[in-house]
């Protein structure tokens, strides 16, 4: 079993009468990417601010690699990296100077130049390393923003909505970088309100709403938790009622209904059931004119759990 890198329990933050975060707790293991998914204002940024040691919590604990983190705990801070939502780079300095500056703050001394070159290669900025960053494109700045979080090889990397306001090409590059980090053994805490990013990157997802984690697990676990099923919608060459009973008998199929030439199939696993359904239709002497597969996503899970859409 992998080591637990982040363990937070019962985190709480209040602003006067407003409880921004209320009893949030989860763990992240080495090599795991954990997504904190929720709409704007759900408490994601406040939660990660406490985990990163930016904010003091009003209750609960966050432990990174065995060190409890507070705003004053330099030991715990040394093993975590933060990629803030907003760009956090100095425009009058070059990429190399930005990296060297933060490298010194993290106490990387002897191997600093080597490490800076490594990071520049990872974020593909080696050829522009000595240009001031105010001359960079938005995507280049985003890449440097991520590079600065990786510089000191943290045990835990926190990325706070790193793709907000990023063009599709740069977004894809960022997502690929995060995937690579997870595969290299780094624990990643990723907050987003983009469901497709969470589905692509995260091994596990915590759904947060109004300061509380309302559900947690893998995508499939979450889908199962709320009772959502995959659906197949088929357009046939003849009367669909003729095959409805036979399709219902397929093992992965939970139920089947027909209306004219249209067949609606609810399956436990659509991709596994589809070949059997098509075979069954053909056996009945009908052809399949079109197929639509809809698998329940985190968006529908979120809607089910909170009664609102992620982008509200």
């Amino acid at each position: 079993m992998a080591d637990v890198v982040l363990e937070c329990s019962n985190l709480r933050k209040e602003y006067g009468d407003l409880v921004a975060v209320d009893g949030v707790g989860f763990t992240i293991e080495e090599g795991e990417t954990y997504g904190l998914l929720g709409p704007n204002g759900a408490g994601k940024t406040t939660t990660i601010s406490m985990i990163a040691g930016l904010l003091d919590n009003d209750g609960g604990t966050a432990i990174v690699s065995g060190n409890e983190i507070t705003t004053k705990s330099t030991t715990a801070k040394a093993v975590l990296g933060l990629v803030p939502q907003d760009l956090a780079i100095y425009p009058d300095l070059t990429a190399r100077e930005n990296l060297r500056f933060f490298g010194k703050l993290y106490g990387i001394d002897g191997s600093l130049d080597e490490r800076v070159d490594e990071i520049l290669a990872i974020i593909e900025l080696s050829d522009r390393a000595d240009d001031q960053t105010n001359e960079y494109s938005g995507g280049m700045k985003r890449r440097l923003n991520i590079g600065l979080g990786l510089l000191h090889k943290p045990d835990l990397l926190i990325l706070d909505e790193p793709t907000v306001g990023v063009d599709p090409q740069s977004r894809n590059a960022i997502l690929e970088s995060v995937e690579r980090l997870g595969s290299e053994g780094m624990a990643v805490l990723y907050t987003t309100h983009y469901m497709e990013e969470a589905e692509r990157l995260c091994d596990r997802v915590g759904i947060i709403d109004e300061g509380t984690v309302v559900a947690e697990g893998t995508r499939r676990e979450l889908v199962a938790l709320v009772g959502e099923r995959d659906r197949l919608h088929l357009e046939l060459s003849g009367d669909a009622a003729a095959v409805a009973d036979a399709v219902s008998a397929i093992s992965d199929v939970e139920s089947c209904s027909s209306a004219g030439s249209e067949l609606e199939v609810v399956a436990l696993n659509a991709s596994r059931a589809l070949p059997d359904v098509v075979l069954c239709v053909n056996d009945a002497g009908l052809d399949v004119h079109s197929v639509q597969v809809s698998e329940p996503d985190l968006e529908s899970v979120f809607l089910h759990l909170t009664g609102k859409a992620l982008r509200e």
């Binding site: 930016l54 705003t71 330099t74 030991t75 933060l82 803030p84 425009p91 300095l93 010194k104 600065l148």
Partner: protein, 390 residues
């Protein structure tokens, strides 16, 4: 903490030196301004006033001779340069072509008229294009007329008491030396020539602008989004604050020292003994940082902070005497002046420039340090609140 603070200070200095506007504000503008003021206003205020006058003596008597003697004294004192005109027309011509500011026409029979106690006139022809010279010319004639009238009174008194030589009495009366004479002298101990005044005034004025970047850079870190990255680094918050203030302190010292040396070697300003100047600069930069930090931390944005600080610094600069000397003013304005660190810095530099010793500088230095401690404490407490996540 030290290493991180130096790293942050180094980064801030690098950013500052790349920002050309900062260099302009810290060195180029104040130095340029000092040069311009020295070139344009320096000659006017540095030189003693002198005006050219012409005299046409058609009288040739004792009164005319007395007038001539008085003008010779004025000339010797350096206030006037006298030219003899052979004719009245020549004297008027000298005024018309602006060669002299004033021409005196001593008409025939002047001395006789004075002795006879009759109406006597010295005609003064003044050049309207040289108002100050003409005014001085008139004042000289007025002064002589007063002297003549006093002599006439003396003669009349003597005659009434039985004397019988009116012309001899008149001559004798005019020869009596005036108990009051003019001399050009600087106020003793003033020691603050124009060049030095503007060099120190401009340096003090801009010192407060230069050091404000310490607090502004903290606000900038927040606005640029880099503050969270600093706060998650394994360093103390104090080291962030110390690094920021250290950079501003060094920039304030460096820019003022550059102004000190430049105005000394290029313009001839006399700031005084080096050690005293250095101590005043260090104390002044500390007070300036305290003032700007105490003010700027009330602002919500960098833009607001810059505007508020600029307003206060300009007003304090004017009240404190960086634009014009206020060390001799009294009353409410004096009290207000003394409530600014600028006043005490200017006072310190004034005494230092006059060659006064450490003991005489101490009151000013003490006041500056008091400002530094009080304002600095307020600024430090308030700045500390800026170094946190919002």
């Amino acid at each position: 903490m030290t290493g991180a603070a130096f790293t942050i200070a180094g980064k801030d200095l690098k950013e500052r030196f790349r920002d050309r506007s900062a260099i302009m504000l810290a060195v180029v503008v104040p130095l340029g301004l000092a040069f311009i003021l020295n070139l344009t206003l320096g000659p006017v205020t540095e030189q003693s006033f002198s005006t050219d006058v012409a005299v046409h003596d058609a009288d040739g008597g004792a009164v005319a001779a007395g007038f001539g003697n008085m003008l010779a004294d004025v000339e010797a004192a350096g206030f006037a340069s006298m030219t003899d005109a052979d004719t009245e027309a020549e004297a008027r011509m000298l005024v018309d072509d602006h060669s002299v500011s004033t021409a005196y026409l001593l008409q025939e029979g002047l001395s006789v008229a004075v002795a006879a106690n009759e109406e006597a006139k010295i005609v003064v022809v003044a050049d309207p294009d040289q108002p100050i010279g003409a005014q001085v010319g008139r004042a000289i004639a007025d002064g002589f007329a007063s002297e003549v009238n006093a002599a006439r009174l003396s003669v009349a008194t003597a005659l009434a008491l039985g004397a019988d030589d009116p012309e001899g009495l008149t001559e004798a009366a005019l020869e009596v030396e005036s108990p009051i004479s003019l001399a050009d002298a600087q106020t003793e101990g003033r020691g603050y020539d124009f060049t030095t005044f503007y060099a120190t005034g401009i340096a003090v004025f801009f010192m407060f602008f230069t050091v404000q970047f310490g607090v502004l850079s903290i606000i900038d870190e927040r606005e640029n989004g880099t503050m969270p990255r600093l706060l998650v680094a394994p360093i103390s918050r104090q080291s962030i604050l110390v690094g920021k203030l250290l950079a501003a302190f060094l920039v304030g010292i460096a820019s003022t020292v550059v102004l000190w040396l430049s105005t000394t070697f290029l313009m001839g300003a006399e700031w005084g003994a080096s050690l005293i100047v250095v101590v005043l600069i260090v104390a002044g930069v500390a007070a300036a940082m305290g003032l700007t930090a105490a003010i700027a931390t009330f602002a919500k944005t960098g833009e607001q902070a810059g505007a508020i600080t600029a307003f206060v610094v300009v007003v304090f600069g004017m009240l404190g005497g960086t634009f014009f000397p206020v060390s001799r003013v009294s009353g409410a304005f004096s009290a207000i002046s003394k409530a600014t660190p600028h006043f005490w810095l200017m006072e310190g530099f004034r005494r230092s420039s006059a060659g006064e010793g450490v003991v005489n500088i101490l009151p000013a230095l003490g006041a500056i340090l008091a400002f530094a401690i009080v304002l600095g404490s307020i600024g430090l407490v308030r700045s500390r609140d800026l170094v946190k996540h919002q």
